[in-house]
């Protein structure tokens, strides 16, 4: 791959949680680069360290050690150019779909018609036209996650962080969402950091995979993937890649 522009660099990131009873290290000296416009996947077993890392990158949690270099400059705290999609959805149940999607624009003080205009564009992009005035509770799991994606895109981020967005969906809906996400990503190019514990999903989506160890999270291996898209999950090279990664993954009981 030719030398791309680095959107972000993570340098020696560590995070330890302290409590009265003792301390627990979730992330131990993790460093990796994020290239501009790339679909980077962070793959790790179980539930340890991944969400904390994303919270640190998004600026809602601070690291015990290490820096985040964004566009060449060290960055501390919240970053308006970063949007996030959550596994637990975190949609506002009291807002309709369109009110949820336009949240970031409303916070920026944009006028109503303009906000609605942009929100409608992204609702159409994720395939939810006609559901603008529904409440999240009335939608299926897959559709609610589409609202989460539309909300993040509507904030016009340069870097989109996704924390196991398809974790709660059944296998078949998950395949559908993976295909749709790639279509959306190709139509509206953004740098994406996609976190998952599903190896098949990682190999299907990622330009590169960063494999983390079990707690405390360390970078075990970085796998560039050069299988052309759309990838066939049962093709020989896909399955071989998957087995090599799976053999290298820790088992977290």
């Amino acid at each position: 791959m030719e030398q791309q522009v680095k959107r972000m660099e993570i340098r020696h990131l560590s995070k330890t949680f302290f409590s009265k009873k003792g301390y627990f290290t979730a992330i131990d000296d993790v460093s990796f680069d994020v290239y501009d416009g790339e679909f980077l996947v962070i793959l790790g077993p179980g539930r340890c360290g991944k969400t904390v890392m994303l919270n640190i990158i998004a600026g809602v949690e601070d690291a015990t050690e290490g820096q985040i270099i964004y566009n060449g400059k060290e960055w501390k705290g919240l970053n308006p150019e970063i949007g996030m999609v959550f596994q637990k959805l975190a949609l506002m149940s009291f807002k309709t779909v369109i009110e949820n999607v336009e949240l970031a624009l409303k916070f920026r003080g944009m006028k109503k018609e303009e906000r609605r205009e942009i929100a409608r564009h992204y609702i159409k992009l994720v395939g939810l036209e006609g559901f603008e005035n529904y409440y999240p509770k009335q939608l299926s799991g897959g559709m609610q996650q589409r609202v989460g994606i539309a909300r993040a895109y509507a904030a016009n981020p340069k870097l989109l962080i996704m924390d196991e967005p398809f974790g709660k969906l059944d296998a078949q809906t998950r395949y559908q969402m993976q295909e749709d996400l790639l279509k959306i990503w190709e139509k509206e190019k953004r740098t994406i950091i996609f976190v998952t514990n599903n190896i098949e999903e990682a190999c299907y989506l990622g330009d590169r995979i960063i494999l983390l160890s079990d707690c405390p999270a360390k970078v075990k291996e970085v796998y560039p993937i050069d299988i052309p898209r759309p990838r066939d999950m049962v093709s020989r090279e896909f399955l071989e890649l998957r087995t090599t990664i799976s053999d290298n993954t820790d088992l977290s009981i």
């Binding site: 600026g59 996030m84 959550f86 506002m92 009291f94 949240l103 920026r108 904030a155």
Partner: protein
């Protein structure tokens, strides 16, 4: 369980509707027999009905039953409006801001365990038995549950929603207005419901301690004049209005929080 024979099904429906009717009949019959055998302890339903009519034809303290009911309701509503504004505002303040919670919260924690009714004597000593002390007492009775529920609602907002607010560029006030308060609304409504029932109880107690008008005064007047049917008329009116207030609040919540009911 849907393969039952039709016979079984009819038995179930008969029981389902028959039992409540049976219960109500039992109450009425019980009331009649008890009042027949102990007229001094319990007036018969007929006497209560006559007394109910008489409250309109011969008003007590120049006000009919509706007048008394409105006197009590007016006191509660005035106090509630003030309590809602202050109580919810104060609840949001101590729920949202840690320093305020430490400073004001501690004062509130000291006053909280004192039951509203325990305030009656001191308030009467200070302000007599006019309108203001009664409204003040109802305010005290409604303020506490509001603050408890509102601050609890604000504190229990899921941390992830706050993350959403900050990541999507909201400042503290925007997050409070757009995310935290709406999420806490159901709990605030629980506070409102409790405050109404507690306000209704407190106004009665205040009126029973001394008042010219109000359903509480009717209860005391009936009690001291050993006119039990008046006491019953007043108690039934109190119960009916109490139930109506609860129903109105339920509808209000459906309007204010449509997303819960949909």
């Amino acid at each position: 369980m849907d393969r039952m024979s039709s016979g079984q099904k009819t038995v179930r429906t008969v029981l389902y509707w028959g039992l409540p009717v049976l219960a109500v009949l039992l109450i009425i019959v019980g009331w009649i027999t008890f009042s027949a055998s102990h007229p001094d302890l319990m007036p018969a339903p007929v006497d209560v009905w006559d007394r109910f009519i008489r409250t309109f034809t011969r008003p007590i303290a120049k006000t009919t039953l509706i007048g008394h009911a409105w006197a009590s309701l007016r006191r509660v509503l005035i106090a509630l409006l003030i309590a809602w504004a202050f109580g919810i505002g104060f609840g949001i303040l101590i729920g949202w801001n840690r320093k305020a919670r430490a400073f004001f919260g501690s004062i509130f924690e000291v006053i909280r365990p004192i039951p509203p009714i325990a305030w009656i004597p001191i308030v009467i000593m200070w302000f007599g038995i006019g309108e203001f002390p009664k409204v003040l007492l109802v305010f005290i009775g409604t303020f506490v549950p509001l603050v408890i529920n509102t601050s609890a609602g604000i504190e229990m907002v899921d941390k992830i929603n706050l993350h959403v607010g900050r990541i999507f560029g909201g400042n503290d006030m925007q997050i409070l207005k757009e995310i935290v308060i709406p999420t806490a609304l159901p709990s605030i409504f629980a506070g409102i419901r409790t405050s109404v029932s507690s306000g209704w109880t407190t106004v009665l107690a205040a009126e029973m301690m001394g008042a010219q008008q109000g359903l509480g005064s009717l209860v005391t007047r009936g009690w001291q004049g050993s006119d039990l049917s008046l006491v019953l008329v007043a108690v039934i009116t109190i119960a009916v209005i109490g139930a109506l207030l609860a129903v109105i609040l339920q509808q209000l919540e459906k309007v204010v929080c449509p997303w819960n009911s949909k």
